[in-house]
């Protein structure tokens, strides 16, 4: 969105007048398939979701059809449910912890990359690309193996380091431990992209800026705060936005590793919506939770875009 707003005006090659009139139907024919697909496969499901959230929609309605409108009853029901607010709080904690770690670590890695020699830099970038290329489900499987209670590598290392209580420790039985593993997994998967983008942006900062700052006797920290940060602010903002979206709506990692458990220690909003719809067959409540999730995300992002424009 930001890229769209700040980007240069779109330039279209001039088309001779006579020709322009003759081909005027063409562009609409060309975009028609895209518009139709978007209408049916994106807009319609979104609308359907909102409509469902205003209806009573359980298994009966799913099979028979003909759902009755209850208007905001579903929203009242979820907003009055303390469990829902516990999930909201957890989702925000989960998002903040992950995003802060991702931003700090990826900035550090990007800075490190700028200071490395060619060979070491290529090695680190190769490693990052490999991590990035790993499919989510392959990664969740490997993390389950690393943290397995029997024969798992993490337990072995911890016992070797003298923490004997980790002998056969079952990580996935503890809510906090599972939460921590999910954070580690998501951070590990997200840092490569963020670090590579930030590094690419850092290389665009003119070297003269740093040179003159050095002559003026600025320290490394000072140069980072006074040159790198201000110049890269829009890029930081974009990466931050993307990471907030990705973490907030993270579903696959959580579902594949813990399905929101143990108990509900790792149930975030997208997982909660899915559970309510699938396990309880309350498609109406699930749809309402999804709608609230999308609204929350939109509000957060719009607030960000506004402050960004105000600057």
């Amino acid at each position: 969105m930001t890229a769209l707003r700040t980007g240069p005006a779109l330039e279209v090659p001039p088309v001779p007048r006579a020709r322009a009139r003759r081909i005027t139907i063409w562009p609409y024919l060309l975009v028609a398939p895209t518009v139709l697909a978007t209408a049916y496969l994106l807009v319609y499901p979104l609308v359907r979701n909102v409509v469902m959230s205003l209806q009573r929609f359980g298994v009966g309605e799913l099979i028979r059809g003909g759902a009755d409108f209850v208007w905001f009853a579903n929203y009242v029901e979820i907003l009055a449910d303390p469990q829902f607010w516990a999930v909201v709080r957890r989702t925000f904690v989960f998002t903040v912890v992950n995003v802060v770690l991702i931003m700090v670590l990826s900035t550090a890695v990007a800075l490190l990359l700028t200071g490395l020699g060619r060979w070491a830099r290529l090695m680190v970038m190769g490693g990052l690309v490999l991590t990035w290329a790993m499919p989510i489900i392959a990664a969740t499987t490997v993390f389950q193996w690393l943290f397995a209670s029997q024969l798992g590598l993490v337990n072995w290392v911890l016992v070797r380091l003298g923490f004997d209580q980790f002998e056969g420790y079952t990580w996935f039985a503890s809510g906090t431990a599972t939460f921590g593993i999910l954070v580690a997994l998501i951070v590990w998967q997200s840092v490569p992209f963020a670090a590579l983008v930030l590094y690419a942006a850092m290389t665009t900062v003119p070297a003269e800026l740093y040179e003159s700052a050095k002559i003026d006797g600025a320290s490394g920290t000072r140069m980072f705060l006074s040159i790198t940060v201000p110049v890269l602010r829009p890029m930081f903002g974009l990466v931050l936005c993307l990471e907030v979206i990705w973490v907030f709506k993270a579903f696959v990692q959580i579902w594949a590793i813990s399905q929101g458990g143990p108990g509900e220690a790792t149930t975030t909003l997208p997982v909660y919506a899915f559970q309510v719809a699938q396990a309880l067959h309350r498609f109406d409540l699930g749809a309402a939770i999804s709608t609230v999730t999308v609204l929350m995300l939109t509000v957060v992002l719009l607030a960000y875009v506004r402050t960004e424009k105000a600057r």
Binding site: W26, L30, W188, A277, S290
Partner: protein
């Protein structure tokens, strides 16, 4: 020196899980089950044998390939038409269309799981690979339009105009002039789309429920414990086989994208 050390740590942390997956896949069972893990492999292919001969492995592989390739081809055809209209023509509603594509790109697909399930059920598309193909088509479509538009705009319009002046029709000009220059862009875009579709889990997990032979690889892999129990060797071999195409694609992409960029630079 400390920088080199930090670089080594970053490298190790990012690569280690991948290394551990491949290592376990090649380790003999008795080494996996020994109390002290070995960090260097002694080579065996037994786990790959177990993974490949697991019930349904080849049909899951085929299903994944089918939906990913199907979705990407569809979005390539549809998106290149739209991208051409956006990049080369001036028309009313063009700005609105671009905005729609950007918003579509931002859509949190996870929020559409429930309505998609209901719609699939209503239209008798539940348990059908064609439904997954359609969804992957839609997931990759916005991104494909945006990227292809960029690639088309990079091709000088004068080339096309020259062809038009020489009497070629708009379609011929596209086919003979634009398309060959566009090929690297098409390839790069479709490979990215392929990776997205190949990895997709949430919809595949939700929409294929009755006929378990119709599942795709990620869904099957996520339920590894019901297939392999605690046979970590076979599980890691399956995960490695699942990652393999993605890795190959990344390698192709690296060369191709650089080639595309340099080709553009020469043309100026």
């Amino acid at each position: 020196m400390t920088k080199r050390f930090l670089a080594l740590i970053v490298f190790s942390v990012s690569v280690f899980p991948v290394y551990w997956m491949v290592l376990t896949a090649f380790k003999p069972t008795r080494e996996i089950q020994s109390a002290t893990p070995a960090f260097w492999p002694s080579f065996t292919l037994e786990h790959f044998g177990t993974a490949v001969s697991a019930a349904g492995f080849w049909s899951f592989w085929r299903n994944s390939l089918l939906v990913a390739v199907g979705g990407v081809l569809l979005s390539l055809v549809v998106a290149s038409l739209a991208a051409f209209a956006v990049a080369r023509m001036r028309w009313k509603g063009r700005k609105a269309f671009i905005l729609m594509i950007f918003v579509a790109q931002m859509t949190p697909w996870e929020a559409l799981l429930i309505p998609m399930y209901v719609i699939a059920r209503d239209t008798d598309m539940l348990d059908k690979l064609s439904m997954l193909t359609l969804i992957y088509f839609m997931i990759t479509l916005p991104f494909t339009v945006v990227t292809l538009r960029g690639f088309i705009e990079a091709i000088p319009a004068e080339l096309e105009e020259a062809a038009l002046v020489d009497g070629a029709s708009r379609i011929t000009a596209f086919r003979r002039v634009v398309f060959p220059l566009l090929a690297p862009g098409l390839l790069a875009t479709s490979l990215f789309g392929f990776i997205t579709a190949w990895n997709e889990f949430a919809f595949a997990n939700l929409l294929i429920i009755k006929d378990l032979d119709d599942r795709t690889l990620p869904v099957w892999l996520s339920s590894f414990s019901s297939t392999f129990g605690t046979d970590w060797g076979a599980t890691m071999a399956a995960a490695t086989l699942f990652m393999l195409p993605v890795l190959v694609v990344f390698l192709i992409l690296q060369g191709r994208v650089t080639a595309g960029i340099t080709a553009g630079a020469v043309k100026g």
